[in-house]
Symmetry: C2
Amino acid sequence: MNARRRSHDRTETIMQTALDLALEVGYAKLSMEAVAARAGVGKDTIYRRWPSKALLFLDAVLSSRTQGLEHPDTGDIVADLRQVMTRACDLLGRPPWGPLYQDLIGEAQHNPEVAAALNERFIQPQAADTLARIKAAQEQGQLAPDFDLDLAFELLSGPLYFRLLITHEPLTPAYIDRVLQAVFAGMGPRPQP
Amino acid sequence: MNARRRSHDRTETIMQTALDLALEVGYAKLSMEAVAARAGVGKDTIYRRWPSKALLFLDAVLSSRTQGLEHPDTGDIVADLRQVMTRACDLLGRPPWGPLYQDLIGEAQHNPEVAAALNERFIQPQAADTLARIKAAQEQGQLAPDFDLDLAFELLSGPLYFRLLITHEPLTPAYIDRVLQAVFAGMGPRPQP
DNA sequence: AGCCATACGGGACGCCCCGTCCCGTTTTCT
DNA sequence: AGAAAACGGGACGGGGCGTCCCGTATGGCT
């Protein structure tokens, strides 16, 4: 009974220590030895819980509050999306957690287990939530019936991830507004009449 | 005189060997020892040319034909963009070079030198070329005067990179068409009259 | 309360590989 | 032909992942 408690405590301690160290030195220089030492724990105790350094890191980053990113429904679809996108960028797009999220995605590029877990535990739920909110807006008549719902999430997220991962430009509220404006107010051709 | 030639030959050989090995075992398992051995070269000879494994890999991937991605100008902006996007996806979005490009971007997440070089040598030129083509279309009256030119490249590329790096879904011509359709035909709200 | 299984901390170990150094040799330029 | 540079090969230091082992302690079971 209390065993579970103790075990859970140690699991928490290890994840928190890994997160602390990652924030200090980055994922690339994060070592299991250092985590074990600072957590006051044997390496076996870590490897009994996670099969690799990468998956420990994933757990540490994701379980560190990726909550609070659910969409509200105020009736204004653009305002609701802006709020969630802003929160997401504040959380994952800049220090302290931004670099860790970048490293996590970097690791996912050559580690299928990390890629799958990241998708399953964060990306997919987020996409589903966005999709549901947009669908509601469409049913309320705020969007055209032929609005490409499945594409919307990618059109909104893609540019943000592009800046985060490729050009490494800052994710400002102004940029979020430009993306929203483009997707929802249209960038279509308007040949002057 | 012939020294340059010989030196250049060896540089070519090393890059090609690195590329071959990377295609066989992936960047994560690529070792400088293996490159040196297969190329019949001492490790010093490699490190005399590149300061690190990561930058050798970047050179190997980028110099391996990232050409042929310039925009034509047939007068039809959407068709021209579709052609370039299709070629880019065929080249960088699937085997054999897709995984290497993914690894390169992954490495860039925790290696500022790689990130900077990737931007300078590939992303920025590509963006500039796209921007120029779109600007020409605007001046020809195919696009509205207030079309957000700077954003366009990111709106078009972002979703493709999102699929490549995050969800790892295939980059099909159909998807490219959906993105083009959304950006240029507009996804804006059309409350029924 | 006492016992046993399990988890534990700590440390040693094998393995791999990056990047540097060195040496004897070949190649190139003068 | 002779000096200077580049070269191949191999040894080396350093670091870290993941495994193994051992003596200990902690908690569940009777």
